[in-house]
Symmetry: C2
Subunit: 197 residues, 2 copies
């Protein structure tokens, strides 16, 4: 998730997330959509939030479903968890991820931190107007999906990902909220897994 | 949306929605998923929240996308809007919907209020293990979709809807949060509309 304005520090108000956090609320809702289903946490999902807002930016928050605890669906609880984690950042934070809470790790840097951490994963951008997700063969294992926030992708991000061989897919005819895009993408992957299991 | 425990009065805390509202947070997230897309409100969606928790229950809150204003995606803003609307209920509220804010109307009653208000709409339940939504012909116009909350459907609701000829569909192999189910259902309807436009 590329957060163009989402604040990279814990310096936002729980009572006014949209107004005080550079719209980190958009990304919080994506955490829920990516990690949770009815019976708990998905077993093998990592969410990377690229936070480009505020003086501490850029930073990347990584949440790993394998080891994360206390991931609740409601936005305020997620906001509090993220706020505490960002506030706990050490002064010498570098481009390597440092785990600050179970399953939550932070790095100083931008998209490159994510790409270095992903290794050999197949890269796919979720974009309006791209090929329909139902018509392409999705990668099931070691796949990474990139989404913009409410502002979409910046041209430089698109160029960087294209240069690495990223493909682009869309989830349907309308431009949707990022968390809804994740719900639809996850559903497509669930269906793929059910077919190939 | 059938909220088994969601409080029917404005008597809940914005700072602790999951703990103080009978999980009205589950329903708030469904409002966002049903009504909003990237560029604003969907043009022709009505959300009914059946609120069965607390002393004022049962009540139904109806939100109509055609006339609703100030529908924001973040949970706290939605909670405040719903809280104010519930708190503004007149003492003599009956089973007819009374509009209390633009697009937001309240009635005293349960599922029957919804059914009476729907008229001739085709009824469909979203249920795990039912027929796959991709294999059935969805109704595009005047269709009503029923979802449970985190507790699912009560047997009496299922029987009532079945007796009225409701069908059941599922959105995929996993049990998902209600807001994700709505995102996937909306996507299916968007695709249907794009095909038949």
């Amino acid at each position: 998730m590329l957060g163009q304005t989402a604040t990279a520090s814990g310096d936002f108000l729980l009572d006014d997330l949209p107004g005080s956090s550079g719209r980190i609320d958009v990304l919080l809702r994506c955490i829920r959509a990516a990690l949770l289903f009815s019976h708990g946490l998905r077993s093998d999902v990592r969410v990377y939030l690229v936070l480009r807002g505020g003086p501490a930016a850029p930073r990347v928050l990584r949440i790993d479903s394998k080891s994360a605890r206390f991931i609740r669906p409601d936005e305020r609880c997620l906001a509090l968890l993220v706020k505490k984690t960002l506030a706990a950042s050490p002064d010498d934070l570098g481009s390597q991820f440092v785990e600050l809470r179970p399953g939550l790790a932070l790095a100083s840097g931008d998209l490159d931190c994510v790409l270095a951490d992903l290794g050999e994963a197949a890269l796919t951008m979720l974009e309006e107007q791209a090929l329909d997700i139902r018509g392409v063969g999705l990668e099931r294992d070691d796949a990474a999906y990139f989404l913009g926030d409410h502002l979409g992708f910046q041209p430089a991000d698109r160029e960087r990902l294209n240069a690495l061989g990223a493909t682009a897919v869309s989830v349907g005819p309308l431009s949707l909220h990022s968390d809804d895009v994740i719900a639809i993408l996850s559903n497509e992957l669930d269906r793929l897994e059910a077919r190939t299991r």
